[in-house]
């Protein structure tokens, strides 16, 4: 009952003229930068942060948050239409979204991803409204040992990400893990694999890697092939967006599972939406009776990750608002924005500033409804943005990718790195090495190592800690199940290799 009264208070604050205006501004800007490959939410929020100093704190937060979740909606559009992910998280959406577009089902894919995003976002908002304090306590009870076991599970799931050779997929995971090691070692402060280059001492930029491997390489590949993926804006009509009954039957369970996975991963500080999308994609492929259709336009393959990534960004507000513990870099910037106004997010925010807290929460929902409108009836606007002729589109995309990569840390070195990864991606594409497992390995590698080492320091070197902590034990048991399930896959792969060797010999 109290929650309802609070929500009422929140909607009162969020339904004022100004709040609505800033919410709309935020989500529109978010969708815009989401659609453009390269420029992501972090860069946009950092750039907009100084503007919010001149706003009422609630309006400022509403706008910044709108950019954050708005970008998640927008980032799937270019993935589906052009195979160019708008952000690293949308790389997963390329896997099945682009094949759907090639089959002439781009409209359906756009519709499904938007609905999935809405569902995921709403699910996490309900958790935020109803169970924030409990969930926040739960989330910070995860110790390094528990994180390690979750990462192990995520890593094992990586083998499902590739459609082709399992061996090549695992190889790419290993390459990703190695790339993740570049930079300053968190435990000792030593520089690793930086060749004395100070630009590398903070590690390889995730945005540079993802945009190089997925964005730049796709543009290069199209240019090499001499075929240009063009978007026919007229083909994306409202009618073309209507999914079939069969589509919807497969959509619902996947989107729910995605929402749950995304919410759990999202509320854990330090994980982030990229891991959430990869995990939910793996879950879908694992439990599917028809895993072979994944990578060829499976509805589940876009529904679950999109629901998951939106659930994850909304759930990230749970520890940020209720404990003052930001889950990732974007949350940390927003926290800084609140500090400037003299507001400290934390357990007392709910009692000290109820209007602010509930106003922001209520604005999330309003924002998600705005996004639904922006992305279904008005999808044509965004599609048209991408349907300009390729001789204008490709240079423009490369331009935006460069700006986006540069804006993360104002580093020209990162821009060069993007080019290098673009060329590497082109090579990988040619020889059938999948890029998605590499990206996952890259994201997980440093976390895996950091938590493994810290868990052992805390336990004074006792490996039993991974089995003694219940959360860790559960995840390790799940990992064992996944591995057991993989045995036939591995056997098939090794059998094929053995067969090849025999043939050659």
């Amino acid at each position: 009952m109290e929650t309802l009264a609070n929500l009422g208070l929140g909607f009162q604050a969020a339904l004022t003229w100004e709040s609505l205006l800033f919410c709309l501004l935020g989500v529109s800007l978010g969708t815009f930068v989401g659609v453009l490959p390269g420029i992501g939410a972090l860069a946009t929020i950092s750039m907009c942060l100084p503007l919010t100093f001149y706003l009422d704190p609630m309006h400022g937060m509403i706008m910044l948050a709108g950019i954050f979740y708005g970008a998640q909606y927008g980032s799937s559009t270019a993935s589906i239409l052009l195979n160019l992910p708008g952000s690293p998280t949308a790389a997963v959406t390329c896997l099945d979204g682009y094949p759907m577009a090639q089959q002439g089902r781009a409209g359906v894919a756009l519709f499904i991803t938007t609905i999935a995003s809405f569902l995921g976002g709403s699910f996490a908002i309900i958790l935020l409204v109803g169970f924030s304090p409990v969930l926040a306590d739960f989330a910070i009870s995860f110790s390094s040992a528990d994180y390690f076991s979750i990462m192990i599970l995520a890593l094992c799931a990586a083998s499902t990400l590739s459609t082709g050779s399992v061996i090549k997929g695992l190889l790419m995971v290993a390459v990703g893990l190695l790339l993740g090691l570049v930079g300053t070692d968190i435990s000792s402060g030593a520089a690793r694999f930086t060749s004395g280059n100070i630009d590398l001492s903070n590690g390889i930029s995730l945005v540079a890697l993802a945009m190089g491997l997925f964005g730049v390489s796709e543009i290069f590949a199209n240019l090499c092939r001499g075929e240009y993926a063009t978007v026919d804006a007229r083909a994306i009509t409202l009618r073309s967006m209507l999914p079939t009954r069969e589509d919807m039957r497969r959509f619902w369970p996947a989107a729910w599972r995605g929402s749950v996975v995304g919410s759990i991963v999202g509320m854990l500080p330090g994980t982030g939406p990229t891991i959430a999308t990869f995990m939910s994609y793996s879950v879908e492929k694992r439990i599917s009776r028809t895993p072979e259709i994944f990578g060829r336009g499976a509805i589940e393959g876009i529904s679950a990750p999109e629901a998951s990534n939106n659930a994850s960004v909304q759930a990230a507000f749970i520890p940020t608002l209720t404990l003052g513990i930001p889950g990732d870099a974007i949350m940390a910037v927003m926290l800084g924005g609140m500090l400037i106004h003299g507001i400290t997010p934390g357990p007392q925010l709910l009692t000290d500033e109820p209007t602010l807290f509930w106003g922001i929460v209520a604005s999330f929902w309003i924002g998600n409804i705005f996004l639904l409108v922006l992305n279904i009836p008005m999808i044509g606007v965004w599609v048209r943005l991408l349907s300009i002729p390729y001789h204008l589109l490709y240079p423009a995309m490369l331009f935006f990718i460069c700006i986006g990569v540069y804006s993360v840390s104002y580093s020209t070195f990162d821009v060069l790195l993007t080019l290098v990864f673009g060329l590497a991606g082109l090579f990988m594409n040619r020889f059938g090495f999948p890029a998605a497992p590499l990206l996952l390995g890259f994201v997980l590698g440093p976390l895996l190592e950091e938590h493994f080492r810290r868990a052992l320091v805390l336990s004074r070197g006792d490996l039993a800690v991974f089995l003694e902590r219940p959360i860790s034990l559960i995840f390790l048991a799940m990992t064992a199940l996944v591995l057991a399930g993989s045995i036939p896959l591995v056997r098939a792969a090794t059998g094929r290799v053995a067969g090849l060797v025999r043939k050659r010999g």
């Binding site: 100004e18 110790s143 400290t344 357990p347 320091v457």
Partner: protein
């Protein structure tokens, strides 16, 4: 607090924001002009911050910058150029003219960086010239309120009774927090594990969870947890008590000798900037940091607004540089 500002006020705020953004974009396009020193400043002043927006060092500069804008009659535009060792920010300054229209923020972290990075591409002591400090910050030793570590004495007693059992958490090796913990461990001769985390919130979560006995962090980073009673401040690292935590003793008051960790951030200009301009800028910082509004706002953030003369600043830089070089060396932190 009212959430219904008048539309007019709102539009004005928006306009200010847009103008600011436009200025920031057009600035690099302007060429520097020869000008008489008496009419300094002739255009907006860029302040390059080597950290991301939103942190304590950034926020204090922005607050003081706002007042300096009023004093100098030109907009102060804060630009963030984060990156390892402050190199990206330094490069921005080195590319500008020594005319006082481009400034940089140096901090305690810079004095550490000069030892941590063996091949730093810039030398703050010879290439930059100090104007004044803006804010001074101490760090705080926090414990988990569920434990019996409620004072430095209790901490040292526990470390003595059960050697090696104490876990101290800080952010990255080589950070001010990390070196403050290393120094604390060495001056008290206590046995403890210093465990690095990636971010301050990670440290906070680990302390609340009970993985750590002690965390070394700034007041602001843990402000919400202090208010919520989830962490307990047992000592501050500076020579003076923290304005936001008047009841918490300094380490020296708690019986730890030879221990003072006080960080600062300061404005620097390019070496070769005319003295008259340095004086004008120094004057502006000094006036801004004495304004009651600034003193109060800084105190709320757990920092002290205080200016120094350029000479004092240069000395302080050298003293801190030597101090941290020794700590890095004796703690065996790997340099890059």
């Amino acid at each position: 607090m009212s959430y219904k500002p008048k539309m007019a006020r709102l539009m004005r705020r928006l306009l200010i924001g847009t103008t600011l953004a436009a200025t920031a974009i057009s600035l690099p396009l302007m060429t520097s002009t020869v000008m008489a020193q008496e009419d300094f400043p002739t255009r907006p002043i860029r302040v390059i911050v080597p950290f991301g927006p939103g942190g304590l060092a950034d926020v204090t500069v922005r607050l003081a910058g706002e007042k300096m804008s009023e004093i100098l009659g030109q907009q102060i535009v804060v630009e963030n150029h984060p990156g390892a060792g402050g190199v990206a920010a330094a490069e921005q300054l080195l590319r500008s003219e020594p005319d006082g229209h481009t400034l940089i923020v140096m901090s305690n972290g810079t004095t550490i960086a000069t030892s941590l990075f063996t091949e730093l591409s810039y030398d703050p002591q010879s290439q930059f010239t100090p104007i004044s400090t803006v804010a001074w910050f101490d760090l705080v030793l926090f414990s988990n309120p569920d434990t019996d570590i409620d004072s430095v004495e209790a901490l040292l007693a526990k470390a003595e009774a059960d050697p090696g059992s104490i876990n101290i958490g800080t952010v990255n090796p080589g950070s001010s927090q990390n070196l403050a913990a290393e120094l604390f461990r060495s001056v008290t001769n206590m046995e403890a594990n210093i465990i690095p985390y990636r971010t301050s919130p990670d440290v906070m979560a680990a302390l609340i969870r009970g993985d750590l006995d002690i965390a070394v962090e700034s007041y602001t980073a843990f402000a919400s947890a202090i208010e919520g009673g989830q962490v307990r401040a047992i000592a501050v690292t500076g020579l003076d008590r923290n304005p936001a935590l008047p009841q918490v003793p300094t380490a020296a008051e708690a019986g730890v000798e030879n221990y003072d960790v006080t960080g600062w951030n300061a404005l620097y200009a390019l070496d070769g900037t005319p003295d008259a301009i340095i004086d004008a800028l120094h004057e502006a910082v000094a006036t801004a940091t004495e304004m009651p509004e600034i003193v109060q706002k800084f105190a709320d953030l757990g920092t002290i607004a205080r200016s120094t003369t350029p000479e004092e600043m240069a000395d302080r830089f050298e003293v801190d540089r030597q101090k941290w070089a020794e700590v890095i060396d004796s703690a065996g932190i790997e340099t890059q």
